[in-house]
Subunit: 242 residues, 6 copies
Amino acid sequence: MRIRVVNPNTTVAMTALALRCARAVAAPGTRVDAATSADGPVSIESHYDEALSVPGLLAEIRRGEADGVDAYVVACFGDPGLDAARELAAGPVIGTAEAALRTATHLGRGFSVVTTLARTLGRAEDLTVRYGVDRFCRGLHACDLPVLDLETDPDARKIVTEACRAAVAADRSDAVVLGCAGMADLTAHITAEIGVPVIDGVAAATLTAQSLLTQGLRKSGRGEFAAPPAKPYTGMLAPFAL
Amino acid sequence: MRIRVVNPNTTVAMTALALRCARAVAAPGTRVDAATSADGPVSIESHYDEALSVPGLLAEIRRGEADGVDAYVVACFGDPGLDAARELAAGPVIGTAEAALRTATHLGRGFSVVTTLARTLGRAEDLTVRYGVDRFCRGLHACDLPVLDLETDPDARKIVTEACRAAVAADRSDAVVLGCAGMADLTAHITAEIGVPVIDGVAAATLTAQSLLTQGLRKSGRGEFAAPPAKPYTGMLAPFAL
Amino acid sequence: MRIRVVNPNTTVAMTALALRCARAVAAPGTRVDAATSADGPVSIESHYDEALSVPGLLAEIRRGEADGVDAYVVACFGDPGLDAARELAAGPVIGTAEAALRTATHLGRGFSVVTTLARTLGRAEDLTVRYGVDRFCRGLHACDLPVLDLETDPDARKIVTEACRAAVAADRSDAVVLGCAGMADLTAHITAEIGVPVIDGVAAATLTAQSLLTQGLRKSGRGEFAAPPAKPYTGMLAPFAL
Amino acid sequence: MRIRVVNPNTTVAMTALALRCARAVAAPGTRVDAATSADGPVSIESHYDEALSVPGLLAEIRRGEADGVDAYVVACFGDPGLDAARELAAGPVIGTAEAALRTATHLGRGFSVVTTLARTLGRAEDLTVRYGVDRFCRGLHACDLPVLDLETDPDARKIVTEACRAAVAADRSDAVVLGCAGMADLTAHITAEIGVPVIDGVAAATLTAQSLLTQGLRKSGRGEFAAPPAKPYTGMLAPFAL
Amino acid sequence: MRIRVVNPNTTVAMTALALRCARAVAAPGTRVDAATSADGPVSIESHYDEALSVPGLLAEIRRGEADGVDAYVVACFGDPGLDAARELAAGPVIGTAEAALRTATHLGRGFSVVTTLARTLGRAEDLTVRYGVDRFCRGLHACDLPVLDLETDPDARKIVTEACRAAVAADRSDAVVLGCAGMADLTAHITAEIGVPVIDGVAAATLTAQSLLTQGLRKSGRGEFAAPPAKPYTGMLAPFAL
Amino acid sequence: MRIRVVNPNTTVAMTALALRCARAVAAPGTRVDAATSADGPVSIESHYDEALSVPGLLAEIRRGEADGVDAYVVACFGDPGLDAARELAAGPVIGTAEAALRTATHLGRGFSVVTTLARTLGRAEDLTVRYGVDRFCRGLHACDLPVLDLETDPDARKIVTEACRAAVAADRSDAVVLGCAGMADLTAHITAEIGVPVIDGVAAATLTAQSLLTQGLRKSGRGEFAAPPAKPYTGMLAPFAL
């Protein structure tokens, strides 16, 4: 069983972080590796970044299919390109937000989401509606830290922790979902500090993918998520023709 | 890591089936055992049966806590007593419907539910709303087979398979959720027959529980799902006083 | 016409209070009596208490059917066991929350709910969704008073009144629903104090039941709420076999 | 206790029918009388008719306040002018659809609505959303009979009965709501024929009004439903100035 | 192409204001004129006012049809009589709230509504639900200024501007919808002051009507919005018989 | 006033069609031109195609900003890249589905959508939810014609017309939304054939954009849709760095 974590931004350090978090939870028999998008933004902090992270992601999914990968984790909380990736892949493709938000529903009545920049809260809100968890989501909060500062700002851990503490108090929530793959290694620390479960979507998505594979569950091969119809592509994107 | 499958009806054969299905998907390091309710109905086919399955279920959860069980699967598609069980248990308690319905959302745009008696469809509908998956649920169908006939009727497998086939055609759905723990061993056969993924909730719930444990996620210990306040209980239920 | 108020907890004083409130509103031709559950918790303050109040409730419904009771009021705001009770009873079974929440919708645009312990707010929220009144519900509030203290705490009336006043101010609501059958005798006082209508669910449910009987409305006798299928019950609950 | 049934169309025979149905269910101590709008359409079968029935209705509400009426029933399934009437009246004003639709929710999982002309189904649908019962409403059906033909067409009873039978079969519903005050006397016949409870909104609204009065529940006197601000009115409607 | 702005209150100065705002946005080839209701309230500040503005509005629609008007704008944020007007008119009838609320959804994730008296907020809330924009509506706010004071109070512009500023801050919204046709000339000033787009419904509705006409889109002529069935009308409203 | 229609697929003939439709409705003072994506699929018939149409679309938006374009129409019913395009553009960017679906809500109670391949119905359904028009959408239908066959198949017009006729009959709807920019020139023919209004999204979006410009409405420049933060882009997409 082989799961690949695909980082749709081009920052290798974030891929390494995501891979560590994925491997930390995978079962003994599960091989987990990772890929970094070759094309696109160094971090995803806008709809523009997110949209432009998708070609690189899809190129990695295609490479993964050639490599015999069984399932994929998309390591960005905006879940970019999920529907398209599912058409390409024969096996499961799981989004970080998708897995984290659904996991949170098992932990109590309501959860808070804490993410990086306020401008990404809208996308997070859209995803709670898409995944049917809006009634469980008690609040969406930003800590106003750019994604790449999560690694470089010496106060990052403290800032995120305090944002989580404030979110739980304001929302009277039972859990926190961390809204950025770059926060993946903070869960244990924050849980210890604030006393509620804290969910990292990369770990959650890795386990969701592994669970689907274990159950032998994969898309039916027909309908909306069947392989996309082959057709010409032009210009810079000509290589994407199937 | 120790997961206990609790059958809230009193039919030992159904417990054995559920345990087999749970063990078939558990990771190497996960110990799975099972318990059968000592008190209540031999099968759950009405709101009355379901309500009266809860004391036996809670007695098993309490016993499980004494035994050091880490997480529980409630092996009945009506998810009886889930909120109460969560108050009692320190670790995760996962419902069969809860896990199956959420799992189905990863497999496409919409799923069908196929269950036993038509009178239980209302409960299934309530659960799709409760878990926020009503928009993914394309239809709820009964095959008009009593629960215990699943094991004894020589045509049971065929009847359920044909009900699934008809449901997928009517709903144009991407997956089927089997709405009874007693159908747990039919997934592979039905998938082979009708060509769409078929989900058994016992397997799904076992993996959900295992995934939460692997991530170290458990309720926060305060609020709605904290341990219930201790108080006197009277009459036949006096032993349930905490 | 004979209506029975069933108290699903085992505290006789609360039954007496509920009976007084029910009789205060019943029409001249309506006989109202009451029954107290023999088995279960002395008060209902958790999902655990609620689940374990159901067998005692159902035993009373069954006894009521033998006694020729025409309709039932379940005198606890969590509406425990309502679906199961409806299967058992030939006539209407009305929940306290069900009646109170629907009654409140006739009194303005939005209402507040004020209940005892904060840990029960989740159940109240679930019920607003179940009964389709979530858009009318402007807020759910706790006064942090245990149920049995409503009778013994000399400040109880004041505490509940002030919680109602605060709720109306915070929610800009048009009415208050009291979220505990033990508050049933406070409505007139609180209305006089805060100037908005205050609803007790026991009175509301008694009148709803009476209204259904007057109209000759009872379940159709087939489908989801038909009498439950007869089957063996085992252990402590063997007497519940039909 | 005095309740007035106001017929917002100008057909006296329909007022008489509504009054009979209201009196048939009122408690001994409740005085019920009726009023017919003096101004407007002879029947309400369009948004145009409904809008133009409102001045006549409001004139009757105003007259009722002068007469010391305690509560009102608006005897038309479109619930015309309900919000405005509530501003005018000190006591409850209950709509026929409002009461019937809420009553139906106590009788099972889902109901069907059967009304006269198909062009009025949109209004009925709007009302199910307004009253929060859309999830209980399994279907909206027309029997294509104009309102006034209900009294004159010798086949009317049969046509409505068969429309109800077909609706219940198509919707697999537990009850029928009759979507026209002119059908009020058919409930017993149709229930006997098709075996599910059938609800007349005039009776339901009369009992809802009576129940609110019995509980002493009336609007708070401030906010959205306070008496409308006094101001000049011009032209034909000058008498409506308060 | 001829569009008529109908003011459903009887204050001519408000008609003139609405006409100015409509003409300011109409395309060169579009003729815009205006009509003032002859019958009813001088301003619309309650459900009562709104209901009683409808006959005068419908009389103007009827006159407009005789005049060959192609489309109508109803110049009151409560969108009185919209469904009835649509039955009467062969061409489009667009509500002020309808157009403003839909326009606002193109300008960002969420908007605030700022209106006159708090008692009208309920109607505005109903309209956000009716038009399917409730998820985009971040808050409904009143500035506590009666409608006619908008023209006479020297502080009116300042009061509305500050209410908008506060609304945007409280709701973190991307746009403001002005909830009264009498505020129509304030948009540029407020936008300049608070830096977010501000929408006047009269302008928005004029352009919506013009756009529908340009596309040749008009109702189908059958079904719910077909011409109302002809029938007798009595009393003061006899002239409304078709 | 300058509006640019951007075709996000690379088929120039479709751009020409869209431009014709846009120009046919634009006001005299409005300059409309068009651009064709240089990079990506020749038609958009899958999530994969849609995702990969976005870079080419965004490149055109960027070019348009340099050219002084005031507003954009995205000429594909899947509304690809809308959020990202809005971040880039100072003025309005309107989606074809967005405009068509909102326009349809002005024409009656409910509409049908008729599109090309069944596999794209899921995306259309997502958009009805996103735009808050799901309650107006009575049905989503495919005519099983690939996008490019719309121009080459001699039966295309007939096939689409019959699909519209069948959709209206099945859904009892008041209007049809054509779910592909390639159907833009069929509206008059289909309306003539089936007697209900038929909406082309390119025309609708052009007029929505023109209306916003006429009102001077543009995004506020801060928050979610502010210009995206500048940052490095790598690989093939390096030119997209801002």
